[in-house]
């Protein structure tokens, strides 16, 4: 997660200073502001944050799928395998989408076309990207459905999305995203609409396919449990900026940003005492149209000082690849000094 100079050679995806703006009724808002991270081949990077933090916009920017004409990338670069996706002609981008970068969205019902059969939607990307003959594409689609754990794939091929359960639909979406064996899968809240037992199935499936295909995964979620469960490294976003990044052990064992610390202590877990008062993060996420000048978390932070409101803190390294954007992280992280 260092600058491009030192790591771009090994990173599959390197996002540097990504800045995205949207035209809204309240004027131009900056949904993503200077976001930098990288993803190495085969690893899972979790992006966690609450609504409006810019995690989905980041994903859409990588795929160049920002809603047009309201949204646009105004700064930064997105290097995928050394190539800046921002400058790629549309035709070249289309060859990457679905073939080298697959995407899974939160709501499988909206990601699937309701009037086409499962088989047709699966075969489409194979026909398009792999240049297979229709019969081969169908055979390979069937294999893929089998691979994602769908019983009786030959029957399912002829069915429509509404005939499947939510979990089955998400498996189909995953099969489509993985049909061309991409190097990178971007999964935006892939299990949020699913029940916990089905979520566990989909996460297990994702891990298994990742091991088999060796692809890297960017997993976007609001659920810290899902991050802890699946990711090698994590990025915590707040109001369009990265608050903290590091290995999952950095983030969960020694969080350095007050926002990460607050999130981790405020969620009830199965081991918190019944009806005990939960620590809270006061206030709410600021509107993108009305962001604080300095640190974006300043107005909710229990540790704020005057300088926090003046200018945003720069990213500082805590240790190794663990970085944080907070003026006071040294005082707020008891283990900071003892960090290896």
């Amino acid at each position: 997660m260092n600058g491009p100079s030192s790591r771009a050679d090994v990173a599959l995806l390197a996002v540097n200073g990504l800045t995205v703006e949207f035209d809204t009724d309240e004027g131009v808002v900056r949904a993503v502001d200077g976001v930098t991270f990288d993803v190495k081949p085969g690893e899972t990077l979790g992006i966690v944050g609450e609504s409006g933090c810019g995690k989905s916009v980041t994903a859409l920017s990588i795929m160049r799928l920002l809603p047009q004409p309201m949204g646009r990338i105004v700064g930064g670069e997105i290097l995928f395998d050394g190539e800046n996706l921002r400058q790629l002609p549309l035709a070249a981008m289309q060859r990457i989408r679905g073939a080298r970068i697959g995407m899974v969205f939160q709501e499988p019902m909206t990601a699937l076309n309701p009037v086409h059969t499962i088989g047709r939607q699966l075969a489409e990307s194979l026909l398009l990207h792999e240049g297979l003959r229709p019969n081969d594409a169908l055979r390979q689609s069937m294999d893929m459905l089998h691979r994602v754990g769908i019983p009786a794939p030959d029957v399912r091929m002829t069915e429509y999305p509404h005939q499947l359960s939510g979990g089955m639909r998400q498996r189909v979406v995953m099969a489509i995203a993985l049909a061309c064996k991409p190097d990178l899968l971007i999964a935006d809240e892939p299990t949020t609409a699913l029940d916990v037992t089905v979520q566990a199935q989909i996460l297990a499936l994702m891990r298994e396919l990742q091991d088999d295909l060796g692809m890297a995964v960017v997993l976007i979620t609001h659920d810290l449990g899902v991050i802890a469960e699946t990711s090698d490294r994590a990025v915590v976003m707040y109001a369009g900026r990265i608050a903290e990044h590091g290995s999952v052990y950095d983030i969960f064992d020694r969080p350095a940003h007050p926002y990460t610390q607050g999130l981790l202590t405020s969620i009830p877990t199965l081991s918190t005492m019944r009806k005990s008062k939960l620590p809270v993060i006061e206030g709410m996420v600021p509107s993108l149209a009305d962001l604080p000048q300095g640190c974006r978390f300043e107005n909710r932070c229990a540790h704020r000082q005057p300088r926090c409101a003046e200018a945003p803190p720069e990213r500082e390294l805590v240790a190794g690849t663990h970085g944080v954007s907070c003026y006071r992280w040294r005082e707020l992280t008891p283990s900071a000094a003892a960090n290896p």
Partner: protein, 330 residues
Amino acid sequence: MNVETPEPAGPLLEVADLSMHFPVREGVLRRARRFNRAVDGVSFAIASGETLGLVGESGCGKSTLGRCVARLHAPTDGSINFQGEEITRLRGGRLRPLRRHIQMVFQDPMESLNARHNVGDILREPLVVQRVGDRASRELRVRELLDIVGLPARSAQRYPFEFSGGQRQRIGIARAIALKPRLVICDEPVSALDVSIQSQILNLLNDLQREFRLSYLFIAHDLAVVKHTSDRIAVMYLGKIVETGDGESIYRAPRHPYTKSLISAIPVPDPHQRARREVLWGDVPSPIDPPSGCAFHPRCPMATARCRVETPALRAVRSAPQRVACHLVD
């Protein structure tokens, strides 16, 4: 904070063998040949000041059960006894007095608050409908309610869209307690909210319970949230309670195979505790024509021939303090 003062009288709410079967109308004649057994023979009780947490996955019937208790549905069978009065068959105007005592908080406050009314109107409405107080006292009550749920007094002139999700849920809660009810049914009250806002609302619900001695039927799919807020827990699967008891003992030593897989499926926010899960395969079957015998048997790793034919009753077991509906638990 955790001092419990049990009330000597009987339970506030007693539900016995409650069923809610919705007809599935099919064919040209729209005849109901099949039924959606959303709630199928459920019994439980809630004491004054107590929270019963109802947990289960989508389609298990937990919301329908909550709506039956609030008498938004007329149950097909069974009985609901509230403060010693049989309320199962009340209809029309005779339900109105009941509404003073049983209220609901819904999942999505944007959908459950009338967008065309300002917050003052929304909070005043229950008082007007129930003919509580006069104009002046209602104004006072609206202000008091806003203060109780932590919203500024000027909120009364504003409209729901002007508020964030968390604030809207505070309005929904203020409306629910406007009439000083005894029982509030909370149906997924925090699942639509951001993580950092959930704890604010959970704390508010806890404070209100202590202050006004409310009883809650707390419905949610998030077991951690349910365990945190509830004195006792009931786990539902396909219209039936499969395990019920103290939250701590259910979490420490779940006995029903479904509860076990539910607990093991929850991602724990601690990377050191990864991958010790037994993944449960398959989906929740449809409550229309549910599986025979124990409804969980097609997904159960331990199912035997008996499970396929004989429906297990919810009963006390020797190995744990909770009650369990499983043939294989002793």
